[in-house]
Amino acid sequence: MRPEPRLIEVRKNVLKQNDVVARALRDRFRAAGVFVVSLVSSPGSGKTAFLEKTLTFLRPNYRVAALVGDLATENDALRLARSEAPVKQITTGTLCHLEAAMVQSALEGWDLNQLDFLFIENVGNLVCPSSYDLGEDLRLVLISVTEGEDKPLKYPTIFNSADVAVVTKVDLAAAVEFSWETAYDNIQAVRPGMPVLKVSAKTGEGMEEYLSFLAVHLIELRQAVVV
């Protein structure tokens, strides 16, 4: 008997399991008419402050809720709860990103039909979350002015996977000599055509434009579902 190496073709996506769950989630979100936004950024870019403001501003007119991923603490969920919107923490332990199955189990007991917007705050990380589809309609990547304009060039994969970029902490732009043009060009280099918004969660600057952006997307989603 002589062993012979042989190749057998397989062609299987390594993340198939995640993609299957993400697709099921997306179908559920569509059926319920809820618009789902995921937020990704590096730690400290102001995701939680931005999300807290988002929930607070949307709440008078929309039914909103949030899931928030964090390695170890529940601090973010406690902060977001101040908006009085339903918030659930997903503690990932040592895992550096959220996966679709975690979103699925966190949603247990929630009636999606009672929601207009669901926000999913990923773990602060610009590398790992890019590979995992969470079933979201829109992936929003945040970059704060204090991080520097070259973040998109350093992390092109996550910026390329996003649908909209939001530059946060713009109230500090002058103090850190942030160049809006350079940041904008860098974002466009790695993701041509991506809309870029400027906000300050602290002063409220740019929040109105961002909220109308979301409102338009919700209308479009519901029209698409009806058609």
């Binding site: 002589r2 057998i8 590398v127």
Partner: protein, 120 residues
């Protein structure tokens, strides 16, 4: 660093295949896109770890790196990108957002040791 979870997914996926087919694995061939978000070197070392105490222990991971290929609306043609920091047509400079290739994270083939049938 999510390469360990990726490596574990690979091992799980291949184990299923080998059980189903009743074969022993020598090597796993993987396509890795430049936009997959996975680092080759890290994945290779994590793969070894993930294989420990599994039927795949001692197997090799053979990675084929796949460059990003975009479609240029101006040239009406596809081009590979030399850098993922600039999504522009290398020929005419048009910004290109249509990605044809480069997100792969796919097990494409398994190399197995097979015993040739005994000559009759």
């Amino acid at each position: 660093m999510h390469e360990l979870s990726i490596a574990m997914s690979i091992v799980e996926l291949v184990e299923e295949e080998t059980e189903r087919r009743g074969v022993q694995i020598d090597a796993v061939h993987l396509k890795l896109g430049a936009l997959s978000g996975v680092v080759k070197a890290a994945l290779l070392s994590c793969y070894e770890m993930a294989c420990e105490n599994t039927p795949l222990q001692g197997s090799r991971l053979v990675i084929e790196e796949v460059p990003v290929v975009i479609f240029c609306p101006t040239c009406q043609a596809q081009h590979p990108l030399s850098s993922i920091q600039l999504f522009c047509c290398p020929e005419c400079g048009t910004p290109c957002s249509e990605i044809l290739q480069g997100r792969e994270l796919e097990v494409v083939a398994l190399e197995i040791q097979e015993c040739a049938p005994n000559p009759v």
